[in-house]
Amino acid sequence: MIELIEKIEGEAKLDFSFKDGKIDFVDIEFMTARNIEKILQGKTALDALVINPRVCGICGHAHLIATVQAIENCYENLEISKKAEIMRELTLNFELIQNHFKWFYLTMRPLLGKKQEILKATYPSQLMAKAIAVFGGQYPHTSYAIVGGVVSDLTEMDLIKVNHYIDETIKFFETNVVKADVEEFSACDKVDNILNTSGDLPDILREIKNKEYLQHGKSYDRFIAFGENSYFTKGKSLKTIVTQNISIDYVKEQENLNSLAKNVTYKYKYYEAGPLARAMINKIPLVKDAHRRYGDNIFSRIIARVCEIEQLLNHSKKLIQELDLSEPSYIEPAINIENLTAKGQSAVEAARGSLIHKIELEKGIIVNYEIITPTQWNLCNGTRENPGVSQKAMIGLQEVKTAELVFKTFDVCSVCTTH
């Protein structure tokens, strides 16, 4: 039974097989690829900063940051100011936040029987887009991060403005998402306390309990994150045991016979990426509590993504205080990129999980480019014997409708998956 899943930044086809009234396998097919990696071949390195945000309209900024870091990785000893580093981290945070609001209000709540509230998605995400625009000129599709830093400079007035956008977004969170003070919410380490409050998050979490969906969406309980910054740490988590020593060298992409999306593994195993993975690796108390009670299910996935909004808003406020405006935004690289023949790679945490870029330059010209997107981790199309993360999460369910819900808790992005 083939179902077209829509409104996931494109579409995917899920081909369900049933046995004894239960889903016993799901084949995942993505139909349209845009061959961005091929488009990049033969272009000058810096042009990738303009092309790559166009991988995706909702997480293009993560692609920009991954691109600039991959090119910078081609240099030895390239100097970046702390200020530029913080600016890049802030704008990436803002992108994650806008994404999570959109996912929560446009996708997740309607799937749990609530009306789609477009303005609740767009109001806070517009504020975050404004904050990015103050730094980068516009959102989506800025290319303001360049090799050596960022193109823009900031004044105190800009920071006042950006702080207002953050405060307004926090206020929105406190009056809509969870009706509680963010300080209180951030200190909360028991899901039961959240379930007893009001707000749009507790509202759908209770709905999951009432509908007896708590067993839905369990997968391997195996998580991975490669991106590192002042908030996220890299590592993997296997049944709650976290280790930090992981290396991109063990990440492998495989062609997929039935789909234009490539599968990706770490040491030949499938891992879940994304907010739940990050929360497990960073040991976020509230998410850990959800996981302890309910496992790696839809409940934990939802709470992890929404928690990240609050964490990143608060962390961004701290980061702004660390900005030293007297530092340069840009330090010109000592070596002209036209003389650079080297390989580089990067990993950043995008909204949906780890995003990896690899670049190979010959005298500043791109000869090879590889992109591994977060959705490739989560939506691997494996076999019956060895299903991918989201496949495993759907197997055993009885209805296509609930399978779609489980599928979309991974925050599927079709354009990214096939890029």
């Binding site: 845009r34 995706c56 446009l106 000129g137 800025t142 330090i331």
Partner: protein, 293 residues
């Protein structure tokens, strides 16, 4: 309930950048009171994509996002067939973005004959010749939300929009992106020592800024209501033009020290004369930092 204008938002080879740019429109509530989507990539709609491609659903405006190729299907039906189906029903067609208008970045995706609806780069194509009279092109990567929304309202009001040679409304595309840039003085007086990361300087001379010869209103209406790429210090990449994306976007091609592409309508001789004059005087204020320590 009042009659809303019915819009089909059809994606082809796209990144959804225009979809998310549209969601940045500040007065969406008003917009959604006047318009409804029979299908949209993220907003809930009455019909599924399957419904859309298999039957004729009443519709007033067709929006196309993304480059177009015979090879691309959505919901198992060729996008070109869906375009044909709805172009007969609708009053107007809007090509949204540079891909849908000129082919754009994804013209290079490797599909057969990938184009915009009526153009492949500057060249006019005949594939949908009979639809030219119905079409309004909105180029840009992405398109500014106000440009889209106000164009849709103009269609609703049956305004007779003046269009340029690429079918773009002059209201937005008669300007150059250069108009309104806060770095204009550095351009006008040829202060040609821009460095990235600074509030000062103009990116036209060395860093590939295409604003003086790119049609668009970025610096007139501003992005996200707060800024623009060139104001921030990022060169204009010419994303509204048929030639987007050119190569070597962060560098200015020069012949004998003169930028290869000059401001729109300015001849080489005029440019040289002007440059000579402006070089003759030194404006202290523009040589210094804006915030002088």
């Amino acid at each position: 309930m009042k009659n809303k204008v019915r819009v089909l938002w059809l994606s082809s080879i796209a990144c959804n950048g225009n979809t998310h740019s549209f969601l940045n429109y500040p007065y969406l509530e008003q917009f959604l009171n006047d318009f409804e989507f029979i299908h949209h990539p993220v907003i809930d709609s009455e019909y599924t994509l399957k419904d859309i491609v298999s039957t004729n659903i009443a519709c007033d405006i067709l929006i196309i996002e993304g480059s177009i190729s015979d090879e691309i299907k959505r919901a198992d039906v060729k996008v070109v067939d869906t375009i044909k189906r709805y172009s007969k029903i609708v009053k107007k067609i809007v090509t949204l973005g540079t891909c849908a208008t000129f082919g754009g970045i994804f013209r290079e995706s490797g599909y057969k004959d990938t184009t915009g609806l009526h153009f492949v780069k500057e060249e006019k194509i005949d594939k949908f010749k009979n639809l030219v009279d119905k079409t309004i092109s909105l180029s840009g990567c992405p398109v500014h939300p106000e440009v889209l929304v106000n164009t849709l309202y103009a269609i609703k009001k049956s305004v007779d929009l003046q269009l340029d040679d690429f079918l773009r409304p002059k209201d937005y595309f008669a300007y150059t992106v250069h108009n309104g840039c806060t770095r204009n003085e550095y351009f006008e007086y040829k202060v040609d020592k821009h460095q990235f990361g600074e509030l000062e300087g103009c990116m036209f001379y060395d860093h590939g800024c295409q604003a003086p010869f790119t049609h668009g209103s970025c610096n007139k209406i501003l992005w996200n209501e707060v800024n623009s790429k060139t104001r921030a210090g990022l060169p204009c990449m010419g994303c509204t033009e048929p030639s987007f994306p050119k190569n070597n976007l962060y560098g200015t091609k020069k012949n004998m020290g003169i930028p290869q592409e000059l401001p729109l309508g300015v001849g080489k001789r005029t440019y040289l004369t002007l440059a000579g004059i402006t070089k003759a005087f030194k404006i202290d204020r523009l040589e210094k930092k804006l915030f002088d320590d």
